[in-house]
Amino acid sequence: MLLESIKLHNFRQYKETSLDFAQDIQGKNVTIIIGENGSGKTTFLQSFFWCLYGITYFKDPVVLNKDVAANMTPSFPEDVFVELKLQHGNNKFRIKRIQQFEKDNSNNIRPKKSLFEIEKKDESGNTSYVDATKREHTINNILRKELARYFFFDGERIETMGKEISGYKKTEEFAEAVEGLLGLKGMQKALEHLSGGTKNSVIGKYNQRYDVNSDSEVKKLTDEINDCNDKIEAYTDSMNEKDAAIRKAEELRDQKAEELKEYESSKALQERKEQLQKVIKRSLATKADAQKEICRAFNNQASSFFTLKLIKDAYDILVKLKISGSDIPSITDKTIQYLIDHGECLCGRHLPPESVELEYIKKWFDVLPPKSIGNMVNDFKMTARNRIGSLNDFIDVRDGKLARISECDEEILNAEDEIQSTIDSKLNGIDVEEIVRTISSTIAECERCISRDNQEIRELSEKIGAEKAKKESAELRLKEHALKSKTNRKIEIYKAYAMRINQLLSDKYAKSEKEVRSRLVDNMNEIFSKINNGDLSVRINEKYQIDVVANNVNAKVETSEGQSISVIFSFITSMIKMSQENRLSDDRAKQELSSDIYPLVMDAPLSKFDKKHIQSVCETIPHLTEQVVIFIKDTDGDLAKEYMNAKIGKSHKFVKISETETIIE
């Protein structure tokens, strides 16, 4: 299929739009369509689907332009159509889908069923219309609906497929796409026809056709073979069921293992929280100790601390006093007066009136308190000295403790902050341990089921083997007996031919499938490594499960979103490239696997890659197939033009006039 042109009428924001596609003339096979976000690139892409299959993926099923819908009146219906001109094989087709819309009296838009017509022009220029009954078949012949999405796809679709790949989901679909696109489908159908079932296949039918009346032994053996076939079928069904159960259990186990990983990180969070709570508790205790120590220091030093200034002022006064310093400690004027009154000195000498002794002792009045205060002042100074002496840098001690307190505060704050902002929000008050236990037990249960089913599959496989042996021996004996009857001899010969063909085809299929898969992997890796600098490569197993492998460790790695997109990009582009290779090959074997030309229509393939990858993507795309149509954001437009210039045959630009109208420049 090669696209020639498309014409849109009232389709969503395209009131009247048509454009041509590059036809690979002089190697220019790329059509680029540039448009800002929201200009309707995806809608345009959807118009292909709508035209071919009558489907869209819009939420609003009404494809009629909103302006037209608003201005409609009940008596005048409006049409929407998309007309696609394309070549397929040696024929040219014009496919036009029309849908009429009416407005009822309550201003509701009523769509009618869409209709489509196909005009076909053959090699000799004869034009004919395809019958209504054959239209769908014709479209499927051109491009099957299931495969269409591999050729017309938007950015979101790439993302979804990327996720499906990393989750091993939809692998059958990938396998089917490969079979369909790379020519394996025909062989598969032929095999099914020959030996696909015990009753309806060619070989099955021969088995039913033996003439049992001629020989009772033939009947017995035919019954035996049928019985074996029934058993083999039943065992195989049972095996398939077990296999499906195992897959389901594996899926559940993997899913739970993922969940467990999350909860294990929660468990780590819980432990971290407890650790932080300990830090908080310890810091609070240290802080309380430091606070108490400040209080204790204050308690001990308050007297000294408060009086230092007053002592200094007092000293400034006292320093001016002239104190003899000859007074006797704790002796006052009262002591002397006592001695005079009693007329006797402490030493026992009498102190008679007007005696020398009396006069001598009276002199003490001048140097003792209250007349002299030397002694009191000395006492005072001594207390002052003690007070100052016990002042032990209270402020420094306090500041040391305050610094410790502030460290503790910071530790507490940090811990609380981590708990609040990074732990509690994630834990959300759940009992992690309980959940982990439940998940673990589910995983264990899955493991048990898997192992049990595997055991049963082994047993079934043995039973099937036994039945097959029994069947083979019966068939051998049947063959001998069959040769005795003319009719049965004929059947035996036909069957032998059918079986031989089946065997040849089956071998051929297995070989081709393996080859196709290995070529697919090679091609994918070539494209994939261009995009990913060769650090990663891709593997595909027989179940079409795709793994990304880090080359340096040769082990599977989890892919990022960007890498998953690269995988799907390389998957699709490889298939298209291989389909083209088959077609152009001189090798007969490859030609047998050939399918038709397909265009590649991609929405925003570049927006998913960063700048350094865009170049390799741009250089890869034009060589994939005969026709490439890509939609590009206006910001990537210049890059695309720069890298693909030589291959660009047509370039269009979408210009958004309003929310309801886009035109093509």
Partner: protein, 173 residues
């Protein structure tokens, strides 16, 4: 003097009790006992030039009186005498004449009842200052420690920036 039980009433009783109680959530105390408040208060009162009178307005209120036992007074007597001497020696408003102040502090110490009244008014004023600086509006331990830090910083910057403790200690020898 200073050999009898002391009883404080009204707000001063309340403030003194609070100053000598556990605070916040850590069970720490700013002052161990009432007597410790009583010893520091006159100095603080004098530093902040705050005198106060007995809170007779609240005499009959339900605020319990605060007591300091006689033994505790006697044990603290040396400190109390020293503090009172300091105040008598330095309070120029009370006695402008330096000679007379010296007499009041030493020669005639304890002989004038008014001197003791002065001392006691500084005790009450000091209690109010201590309450205001250390207790008022504080709830958590952090608040109390913050207030204590600010208060001691204030005293430190007000009075001690220019005093060299060691020089003073030497000159007193």
């Amino acid at each position: 003097m200073f050999d009898k039980e002391v009883r404080l009433i009204g707000k001063h009783a309340q403030y003194m009790s609070l100053l000598a109680s556990n605070f916040g959530e850590i069970n720490a105390k700013l002052f161990n006992r009432n007597i410790d408040v009583y010893v520091q208060a006159p100095i603080v009162g004098f530093l902040y030039q705050k005198k106060s009178e007995k809170d007779v307005k609240n005499k009959d209120s339900k605020i319990p009186d605060a007591h300091i036992l006689k033994d505790q007074m006697i044990n603290a007597k040396d400190n109390l005498v020293f503090n009172m001497q300091l105040i008598l020696l330095l309070d120029k408003d009370y006695e402008p004449d330096e000679e007379k102040r010296i007499d009041k502090a030493f020669r005639h110490f304890g002989k004038d009842e008014k001197d003791f009244e002065l001392f006691e008014s500084y005790v009450l004023g000091g209690i109010e200052i201590l309450y205001q600086k250390l207790i008022e509006n504080a709830a958590k331990s952090d608040d109390f420690i913050d207030k204590l830090s600010s208060f001691t910083d204030e005293i430190n910057s007000r009075y001690y920036s220019e005093i060299d403790k060691d020089v003073l200690l030497n000159s007193l020898n």
